[in-house]
Symmetry: C2
Subunit: 301 residues, 2 copies
């Protein structure tokens, strides 16, 4: 059984097929958030702090930290943000940047075993990011595109993922420390995007035995009622073998979808988390059970 272990200074998190689905909070990211970007560039971490605490309270298992601000000193800001976040929570972090110097500075600042987000299949990226991951004993998100771009052919994307896993092993990184992102396309543009994702996720699980993640909200790009679609996508992806997602834990629908999937995949022991969250107090203290019994008699009466 594949277990990707990520840790902070005082807490360990295991991503695996037999574990609750891992929710990686995506909020600490200035990309597309002007106010947050301006704050972080001006050494003001008020919003970072609020986003951190809100995501912890909402039930995130890990937090993604990104400091990608144009023209700013990303390595320094990322390191500072990571130190701040680690002072606020003991959740493990995912260190998110497309700039190698920023990843390096983030890893230097981080206490524990981080998840590096991310490396793609381009040879020049593999050669700079993987040694860094190895040096820090970290795990890494592998995105299944390469020099040729993002293929629409799921077999090509699977092969790119496989290549990254094998290259990581060449650098001394265990396959279980590679978490593959199969790249989810918007289904409004590409009708087969869901089936494609489920099929790649299943192959990654069955053939490579690796954990997987994705930016789930991409699936519903451009469509109405996105949260409902995201929630069902997350659950169906979990059913196909996906073990984590980079997402907004403040969205109730998505969180309920994931909690349901945990129940249905037997990763919520005795449905305890589900019952704790949704139980309504009743005079008898057994909410729902009588109604359930009646219904059971009805079906196949």
């Amino acid at each position: 059984m594949t277990h990707t272990v990520i840790s902070s200074h005082s807490r360990e998190l295991v991503i695996g097929f037999d574990r609750p689905f891992c929710i990686i909070g995506e909020r600490i990211n200035p990309t597309g958030r002007k106010k947050l970007a301006a704050e972080m560039a001006a050494d003001d971490f008020t919003t970072v702090e609020a986003d951190c605490l809100a995501q912890v309270a909402a039930g995130a298992h890990m937090l993604d930290v990104n400091a990608g601000i144009p023209l700013a000193d990303e390595p320094a800001i990322l390191a500072k943000t990571i130190k701040l976040v680690q002072s606020l929570t003991d959740l493990p972090l995912s260190i998110d940047s497309s700039i190698v110097e920023a990843l390096e500075s983030g890893l230097d600042a981080y206490q524990g075993k981080a998840l590096v987000n991310s490396v793609t299949g381009e040879e020049e990226r593999l050669e700079v990011v993987l040694p860094l991951v190895k040096k820090h004993g970290a795990a890494v998100v592998a995105i299944s595109n390469d020099e040729t771009g993002i293929s629409e052919d799921p077999d090509v994307r699977f092969e790119v993922a496989k290549k990254i896993v094998h290259r990581a092993m060449d650098f001394g990184i265990a396959a279980e420390d590679v978490v593959v992102d199969p790249l989810v396309m918007p289904i409004g543009a590409l009708g087969g995007a869901g089936k494609q994702a489920f099929s790649i996720i299943r192959r990654l699980r069955e053939e490579l035995g690796v954990n997987t993640t994705c930016g789930a909200s991409n699936i519903s790009f451009g469509l109405p009622n996105r949260h409902a679609l995201n929630a069902i996508f997350l659950a169906m992806a979990a059913g196909a073998g996906m073990t984590s997602a980079i997402m907004n834990p403040l969205h109730d629908e998505e969180m309920t979808g994931i909690m349901s999937a945990d129940v249905l995949l037997n990763n919520d022991l005795d449905c305890r988390k589900w019952i704790r969250k949704y139980r309504q107090p009743s005079p008898e203290g057994h909410a729902g059970s009588e109604g359930g019994r009646r219904e059971r008699r009805r079906r196949r009466g």
Copy 2:
């Protein structure tokens, strides 16, 4: 590709992996509904009529009709109910009884190709129900239990289903006219019930190539927030290969789950049904697309 064709006098419905998930409305069933049972026994079909029209309006693709009332003349009432329902809607029907005489009377009254609900794997049931199905050119729901009861071993349940499919073929019924119900257990009592169901459904699809159905609400028996759990179960089961369910189409959460699964499995062409149902009018007429574009830029910025 397996297609189970069910029809009324004027309308054909195809159940299949490449078709929208088939919603079989379960409401016309007096079991556990005292008022409805009393009405039907007294030749009053007011509630039947209302249940029929409400389910049609809610988007059911087929209606299940059951007239199981203790001490009543079930064959006569079932025939009458079927005639009434067929006068109100052209949706195809599922004829639901555990009494062979009632199935026979229902089939005699029915115009079109019905779905007979159901036959189990007990030899004496197979020998009376299957010839009836063949004689009327109907399709049949095969429930995967037999003389030994309902096994908790999914392999045993799969084997029972396989036996019924083969026995049906012995009687001249095509495999595509057998829709298997793998029997969904309550997950509150049996933590592996979800994984078990998904695994049997997948095997039924991949190894036997048959369509499947189930009474979906059983999964959440005894638990709080049942509709959310049912909705996610239905979608995950569809992801594993389930193609229909006997359910209450008046429940919005379950219906949204199924509509999402249709989108994600590419069985809602160009997301048309989804967009029609959830689109919000906006001044530009392109609700959500700007937000989506922003988000796309953000991820992997």
